[in-house]
Amino acid sequence: MTGLRTASRVVVGVLVVSLLGLAGLGVTAFRSDFRALQTATQENIIWSATQVEFELARFLAALGMFGAGVEEVDADQVRLRYDVLWSRLALFDDSASGRRLKAYDA
């Protein structure tokens, strides 16, 4: 009887330790996932790339309208769209997103 009781205590002990271990692993995994998610939110490579596409479209539209002599679009507006497009591209050179993209190349 005493042997059986000791054995069951050992089994319960092992179970508790394993459960605690699993819970610990779960928390660690959750924290690393959470951190990765936070980094992804901060860097936003897809957002930056989409903005380049968007600003390119706006620049081409402004340039097209200026070329076609549309009165509402003057040279300053074309310059503004070009500068904004340029600033979007320059972001890839000096930002967290740019550094991450360059790290992929290496």
């Binding site: 901060q42 503004l80 500068d83 591209l89 000096d94 967290a96």
Partner: protein, 183 residues
Amino acid sequence: MQAEAGTTGSGVPQQRDRRRLVAACLAAVIAFPASLAGGRAAAQGEILLTLANPTLAAGSREIALTEADLLALPQVGIRTSNEFVTGRPLFEGPLARDVIALIGRGSATRALMIAANDFTVEIDLSEFDRYDVIFALRQDGRPLSRRDKGPIWVIYPMDDHPELQDPKFNNRLVWQLIRVELR
């Protein structure tokens, strides 16, 4: 079938041209050092920032500020990192609260910040009292041009306050700021 093939045929080269243009622009940006890529600085007398406050009972509800107007205010330097720069550059410009004081708050409690790229974000005015947020005109002594997040870049002193390192504050680093509407 032939018509379909024709449509695809005319669409692909157009897409290729656009990709080439993007690639050329990217190459140009990467090839030129930052000093050359800076674009032109703001011309004298050019309007950099418009402030609007419809909550004011009387007086001017909209004012336009030139670079000289912004430089006439006390200039504050903040050395800080953020996710859009390398290292910890020195940013200089007037405090956001000083600029907003030029028009007056009236009963406004929030500010809608509008950028040249039509990005907008609404910020609680109390943040400008709690933190020394600046409307940066210079980075490491160099005027910010429109091609490099200028002429005005809203900078929070992120390195001085751990709570400002929360990702939500990245959205408030409005660059190419052109208009502030109080509400």
